[in-house]
Symmetry: C2
Subunit: 123 residues, 2 copies
């Protein structure tokens, strides 16, 4: 699978899980994983998932606009850059967001998120 297709598959899996089964994101992070969410720094899968599941909205839908990827300096690592729209239940307008992931391979042949930075793009 070429890197762009891998990145796109990861991103689709990530946001589908976020939108339908947020606690399921736990398997995509590890103890050393870092999330910076709107400037707040959080480390480790349990803390990251606690943050993501406690966001002040229960239902949401991410629409992906662009996915870019590059190989990272880490062996078989991948940098993924996403832009898109986040629609919250009950809100009229979608929010624009940008997010980057640094993915590292797992021994099982999959990927986990080492670095994750999320920002809303306010108009």
């Amino acid at each position: 699978m070429d890197p762009d297709a891998l990145a796109k598959a990861f991103v689709e899996h990530y946001y589908t899980t976020f939108d339908n089964n947020r606690p399921g994101l736990a398997s995509l992070y590890q103890d050393g994983s870092m999330l910076t969410f709107e400037g707040q720094k959080i480390q480790g899968s349990p803390n990251i998932v606690a943050k993501l599941t406690s966001l002040p909205f229960s239902q949401c839908h991410h629409s992906i606009t662009t996915v870019d990827c590059q190989p990272s300096a880490a062996t078989n690592g991948m940098l993924v850059f996403v832009s898109g729209n986040l629609q919250l239940a009950g809100e009229q307008h979608a929010l624009k967001f940008s997010q980057m992931f640094h993915l590292l391979p797992t021994p099982q042949g999959s990927y986990y998120v080492l670095n994750d930075i999320f920002r809303l793009n306010y108009a």
Copy 2:
């Protein structure tokens, strides 16, 4: 210097150079550097600077809105995530952009850009 201050100093230096002396960006990239600019993949400092200096606007001004950073998996490497506005000369409205950099240390105690991904955030 703490990582957040370093990241902010790099970002200010980068965009000041971009806005005032675009060819000067050459020293911030190396042969292995990668740029993905609006989906177009470019590799190596000379090609990257050729792209950036041939963009269809001569004067511009970047205003930084947010700078986030995390340590990368590479030794003393740093991931930097920027959002901001790009004002082109003669245009009424600024364009919103997001950009990520993966910075690696140089032997001289400075940083260069290994990975660079840029996207405009269209409204």
